[in-house]
């Protein structure tokens, strides 16, 4: 059994009703700020849609991608979104399987981020296609030998599993909302009624829920590892310097956990502030999440050293050209900023306890997340300018890649899209799982059969 996590930090332990009302309260009022925020996101998405239709009509030439930089910011976005989405599996699956119960209040945030991110990963890959009107060919004429097919299947599988993993632990909470949110508009009440699947919290229902959750948190692990490994193989299977690397799979997965942890810390800060959840998302959670972030960053740093030092030591023909460009050439300012501000400096800073407080860790996490995106750009783009044969007989602007406004607007729209998904989800669902919170505090009243309700309990 888990011990109550946060009770020691509180002057007096709240009752179940207090916890429930605290967590439901933000759902009652649709504030002006929230409405404005949603409108803002929709405006960005509309701008993105306009830019995308421009791209559809004119062709991918409205980007700065050309024959020697055939993959650009869209593919970097795709890798970034896949990376961020892995946090759902880290917190909801790995930490749960390891009985790290401190992370329970964060699991829903992580799952919502995962859902938003994986949706935008799928969108980014379609945005990058020259002929999105022929997307059906992937199903009609798909060749299993192509890593794109593998990616197509694992992204879709992960999307479905992410939805299920978000939904399953939501069911008891939706049942609470169904009973408590009687003043909400009819559509919202209907939504709760439909989604609660007739949940009454019987022993049998808890047993089914626990069983299915255990299946899902185990099932998501191989899928999560596959999705990012296969994404790394889109690059690694090509015999090109900077891509053709055997450690690309673990290197990408380590990087994904860094990006996702940073995203969760940012979201934690925002929701704690906006929803006044200081009692539920505490300094201790920030402390622990930041330690997790440092752990994943140390792992990522280790892979970075491997990835750059080994070819850097032999400095072979194309490796040398590529690394000179990164270390000392055109890409050097970006490369060193990314590696220092996005990786090394955060590791050092987060060693200090004061830096693991909410506000400093928010700022650090923003840098880490920005660095994670820049890093994807640095993985995807520079390699393509170092083919085996020299690049000649092409217009001068083919020799460099600077994303155009169209590309930036569309990229911003995918960011807004992910944020909108998360915003809409927290608009109707509690951001901290009510029943898990109550359970961890040992004040659960909703469970008719207490013993079988603990999904963290080991079957054996």
């Amino acid at each position: 059994m888990s011990t109550p996590v946060t009770t020691s930090t509180l002057p007096q332990a709240p009752t179940f009703e207090q916890v429930r009302e605290d967590l439901i309260r933000p759902l009652h009022k649709n504030t002006f700020a929230n409405k404005l925020w949603i409108r803002f996101l929709i405006v960005i998405i509309i701008l993105g849609a306009i830019a995308y239709s421009h791209q559809l009509i004119k062709g991918l030439g409205v980007t700065d991608m050309r024959d020697y930089s055939a993959w650009g910011v869209y593919i970097a976005n795709f890798v970034f979104w896949v990376a961020v989405s892995l946090i759902g599996s880290l917190i909801s699956s790995i930490l749960k399987l390891l009985h790290q119960n401190w992370s329970n209040p964060l699991s829903r945030i992580a799952e919502m981020i995962a859902l938003g991110a994986i949706t935008m990963a799928a969108a980014s890959i379609v945005i990058d296609m020259g002929r999105p009107d022929r997307l059906q060919n992937v199903v009609l004429h798909g060749r299993l030998q192509s890593p794109i097919l593998w990616d197509f299947f694992v992204v879709n599988t992960y999307l479905v599993i992410s939805i299920i993993l978000l939904y399953l632990p939501l069911i008891p909470d939706i049942a609470i909302l169904r009973d408590r949110m009687t003043d909400s508009p009819p559509w919202q009440r209907k939504l709760y009624k439909a989604l609660s699947l007739g949940w009454h919290g019987t022993q049998e229902q808890w047993r089914l829920l626990r069983r299915s959750m255990i299946v899902m948190i185990i099932l998501i692990l191989p899928v999560a590892f596959s999705i990012h490994t296969v994404t790394s193989w889109l690059f690694a299977v090509n015999s090109r310097t900077g891509w053709h690397s055997t450690i690309f799979g673990p290197y990408f997965i380590a990087g994904a956990f860094v990006a996702g942890s940073a995203a969760v810390i940012i979201a934690m800060y925002v929701f704690r502030k906006r929803h006044k959840l200081q009692q539920y998302i505490t300094d201790r959670h920030f402390n622990m999440m930041n330690k997790l972030l440092v752990l994943t960053m140390l792992l990522y740093l280790y892979f970075n050293i491997n990835e750059y030092l080994v070819p850097g030591y032999t400095w072979q023909r194309l490796d040398g050209e590529h690394l000179r460009e990164l270390f000392l050439g055109h890409q050097a300012p970006l490369f060193w900023l990314t590696q220092i501000l996005g990786l090394v400096a955060p590791i050092v800073l987060l060693l200090f306890r004061r830096m693991r407080k909410p506000l400093p860790s928010l700022i650090i996490s923003i840098f880490v997340l920005l660095g994670a995106w820049m890093k994807r750009m640095l993985i995807v783009i520079p390699t393509q300018f170092h083919p085996e044969f020299p690049i000649q007989n092409v217009p001068k602007h083919f020799l460099e890649y600077i994303p155009t406004y169209t590309e930036y607007v569309i990229s911003a729209a995918t960011l807004a899209g992910a944020m909108l998904i998360i915003t809409l989800l927290v608009r109707v669902f509690p951001v901290v799982p009510i029943w898990e919170e109550a359970h961890d505090r040992g004040i659960n009243k909703i469970f008719k059969a207490e013993k079988t309700s603990n999904i963290h309990e080991n079957e054996a």
């Binding site: 997307l135 060919n137 009609l140 030998q145 090509n238």
Partner: protein, 316 residues
């Protein structure tokens, strides 16, 4: 289990299961509708004659026959996917002869309706060592026998034919550009914009072997002028060369013909006697375009920067 005897518990459990089952059934039904493409015929008592793989003529009930749905391809698409039987085309490029006349590039651009910088064959200026003088090297697609580009294609839009040519079907291509990433020889171009066509030109029937009309958002690449080979002629670039750089022919016949002099020689002897080689054998691609070393060449030296400038000038 004792508390479970009363009814409400069982009802809610039943509801939960029922709804879960409904959801599951919906998913299965949806998937079924999507994947069902087999034709079901009722048993009618009539028999249909059928030739088996072993050559026997048998009579079977029509309901036993599973119809294989044929892909809808145009005639030219279908023909383009079939290789010319009894051939394995090969190419020998004599680097000693190339003087950077660029007639090959011009004709390629003309035949395939490309922009100048999209030429399928690209004449590069190479310099292997600081002490050696630079030389000109035309680089078409190497039509590898183990092509990395066709391997990664998700939709079988680019494929290797039985006669050795690697082609692209632009009615199939989804424009993912994975093949550009995979090709170590930079042989592939992408149509980033809508090609400059009139409505009439745009609506012509698409020919895989010529890759015309070019289509926005798809790949274009060297096809060894498969349309010319079909009518027994040498590729556009090969016959355009004024300097006798290109030998084109058939590995199975072991002959190659010079595009300028029309002299025909034995392929194996030409390669053996002149120390022919291919590029990046170590990548395992088995390229089918051979090179003869750039010895005793007469072309003037032009620094690479000037070379690029000259090209820009020429494009205007």
């Amino acid at each position: 289990m004792k508390d479970q005897q009363h009814n409400p518990t069982n009802d809610s459990r039943r509801n939960f299961l029922k709804q879960a089952a409904l959801l599951g059934a919906g998913v299965v039904a949806g998937a079924g509708v999507l994947t069902s493409c087999s034709n079901h015929l009722a048993s009618s008592g009539e028999k249909t004659k059928l030739l088996t793989a072993t050559g026997e003529l048998v009579e079977v009930d029509p309901s036993q026959i599973k119809r294989v749905r044929k892909e809808k391809l145009t005639e030219l698409q279908e023909r383009g996917r079939e290789g010319l039987t009894g051939h394995h085309w090969t190419w020998v490029i004599d680097l000693a002869k190339c003087k950077n006349a660029r007639k090959c590039m011009d004709d390629c651009v003309g035949a395939h309706e490309l922009k100048p910088y999209q030429s399928h064959i690209n004449v590069l200026q190479m310099q292997d060592s600081k002490s050696g003088a630079p030389y000109y090297m035309p680089t078409p697609c190497f039509h590898c026998d183990n092509p990395p580009c066709t391997k990664v294609c998700p939709v079988n839009a680019t494929f290797k034919r039985s006669d050795g040519i690697v082609l692209i079907d632009n009615l199939r291509c989804i424009g993912c550009r994975f093949c550009i990433a995979a090709c170590p020889y930079s042989a592939r171009r992408f149509q980033w914009f809508e090609p400059d066509y009139t409505e009439e030109q745009k609506n012509r029937v698409y020919d895989v072997e010529l890759n015309v009309p070019q289509k926005k958002g798809t790949i274009t690449k060297c096809l060894m002028s498969a349309d010319r080979l079909r009518i027994g002629k040498l590729p556009y670039c090969v016959s355009a060369c004024p300097n006798g750089v290109y030998w084109f022919g058939d590995k199975l016949e072991d002959t190659v013909t010079n595009g300028t002099t029309h002299e025909t020689v034995k392929f194996s002897e030409l390669i053996r006697d002149n120390a022919g080689y291919t590029y990046f054998e170590d990548l395992g691609t088995k390229p089918q375009v051979y090179y003869l070393p750039p010895k005793n060449r007469t072309s003037p030296y032009v620094p690479v920067d000037k070379f690029q400038e000259k090209y820009e000038e020429k494009r205007g």
